[in-house]
Amino acid sequence: MSAANFPAGSAITTQSRKAVLSVDHISKTYPVPFLRLKKALKRKFKPPVEAVHDVSFEVSEGEIFGLIGPNGAGKTTLTKVMATLIQPTAGQVTVKGYDSVHDDVAVRRNVGLAGAEERSFYWRLTAEQNLLFFARLHGLSGDQATRRISDLLRMLQLEDSARKRFAELSTGNKQRLSVARAMLADPPVLLLDEPTRSLDPLAAARMRSTIKSLSRDESRRVTVFLTSHNLAEVEELCDRVAIISKGEIKALDAPRNLRATHSDNEKVSITFVVDDAEKVETALREAFVAHPFTLGRGDVSDSWTLSFSRKTNDQTLHTVLHVLHSTTCVVKGVESERATLLEVLEHYEHPDAEPEEDALSA
């Protein structure tokens, strides 16, 4: 998979923006510790694990870039390589032009990482004391640190928890504190590993709104690299999404393009009102001898819902609407649903698996 396959901004209108984060042919194989010694002593050892293989992409300034994939696909390894915590076996990661191996300090100055690991804080210190410690490591003066911490606590609704020990915080607040820490030095690039994992729905929505506003804020244009198992969230937030499986990027595009290119099938539901539903059903059966559909009562009284699948751009929808019109139906609504990101993900994870039968088929 090469960078040429997935150029920055390929699916969004960000091509004029410069790439802030560049991943160029990154591979990471975890070596077997003390391999030569084990061979010399004829000890058994597990083969080296290739966690990431030849991954390339670029992320533009202000872009929200999502990485999805099953457990063990290589998401965390890739994130840690970008964060300079793991060295790649091959390839290069640059952040704002700084190389993650040779200019690692400069890279860390430009990157904030909010991991999913709870243990990364000092449990006997308060939330504020924890942030103060890390702010000082980032080089902030006392006044700067206090101001920044106060802003972040307010932004992430953590003011009430500021003086609580980390151990006493709820899981959701721990998660938010992790995001606050990542933002302490106001870095241009944020690496967020499941940022809403433990949040309640309202807090998760607020977090998503914060992430969006960071990237859309013209004065800062923070670039966000996000990994998540919440596909709806990825779809809502991300300008582009990469699907990683077994250490390789299988697809990369805007979420709607990914869904569109995965399958040209869509499910259509039409809600209508009619006096004689039997007449409509008969007319539909005559029009669609070989095409399965379901007809049932709608959510609103006197309404009916007709569901069927069709190929994008075929004549089915036109014919159905014509039948409904000719049988004096009053159409109240038309909804169509293309493949979900989950289906796209499943497709790349199990490429040989048969597609699921249409559950709505009559």
Binding site: P31, W123, L137
Partner: protein, 275 residues
């Protein structure tokens, strides 16, 4: 490296560790109490030897003074070669090492900052041995305190180099650090903390006695006792001072190189937070 940033970061570590220490107040009180009990015990044991001191061992005419300087320095030296490895191991166990290394902090800063609080603490507890001896048991020290301090700092820096090597082991092997074992027990036995090193030569022969010659604490302790107990000046303590500088010249670049390699290896293996 910006010195302001360097000290700001060290200060951050000291404040963090001070706050963590404050969250365990009882431990602090018990440690002070245990030092007082130990000094009192040494006082009574020293009374057994009144009038029996071998005239060859001028530093040991007052065994209590020799033991208290030995204990104070041993405490400091142990901090030198174990604090960094302990700090790294603790950060690994807590899971905070990655978060610290995610900040734009350089490896030398991590080395100095991680053990800064331990040295603050060691200074306090080591001085307690000397202060309790002077305050409650009439132990008097003489000579230049500045020169004694120079010995103390130099020996500690040399031992910190061994501490950095020890931390490198912690980084790669996680446990089973050989430096802690050999230097901890070795220094107590061979460096003259509790008895004169000449006795080893008398009873165990030259080969065994030569072990003390390769241990930096031997020179540090000898120098400090010469200054504080015998009242010797700079000209008379040049030899142990030069020996310590030779150790420093060899160990400092070696230890920094090894630690850098260890961090890179852990990053290659992805084992920074494993323990």
């Amino acid at each position: 490296m910006n010195p302001l940033l360097f000290f700001r970061r060290i200060w951050a570590f000291v404040v963090r560790d001070w706050r963590l220490e404050l969250s365990y107040r009882m431990q602090l009180f018990l440690r002070v109490l245990s030092i007082l009990i130990l000094v009192t015990t040494f006082f009574f044991v020293s009374k057994i030897f009144v009038g029996f001191a071998d005239p060859r061992f001028t530093q040991w005419r007052d065994p209590l003074a020799a033991w208290l300087t030995g204990m104070a320095m041993l405490n400091y030296f142990m901090t030198g070669f174990s604090s960094l490895a302990n700090a790294i191991r603790q950060e690994q166990v807590q899971g905070t090492l990655e978060s610290v290394l995610m900040t734009p902090i350089s490896v030398p800063t991590v080395i100095v900052a991680s053990s800064a609080w331990d040295f603050v603490q060691a200074t306090f507890f080591s001085s307690l041995y000397l202060v309790f001896g002077w305050l409650f048991f009439n132990v008097h020290y003489q000579g230049s305190y500045l020169l004694a301090l120079a010995f103390l700092l130099l020996t500690t820096v040399v031992l910190s180099c061994l501490g950095i090597l020890s931390a490198s082991f912690a980084m790669v092997f996680k446990r089973g650090d050989p430096f802690g074992v050999f230097l901890g027990t070795g220094s107590a036995l061979f460096s003259g903390v509790f008895f004169p090193t000449q006795l080893i030569r008398d009873y165990a022969g030259n080969k065994v006695a030569n072990i003390s010659l390769v241990l930096p604490p031997t020179y540090g302790l000898d120098g400090i006792r010469r200054v504080l107990i015998e009242g010797q000046g700079f000209a008379q303590v040049r030899q142990p001072l030069i020996s310590l500088f030779v150790f420093l010249a060899v160990l400092l670049p070696l230890s920094l190189w090894v630690f850098n390699r260890a961090v890179k290896r852990a990053k290659r293996e992805g084992s920074l937070i494993q323990y």
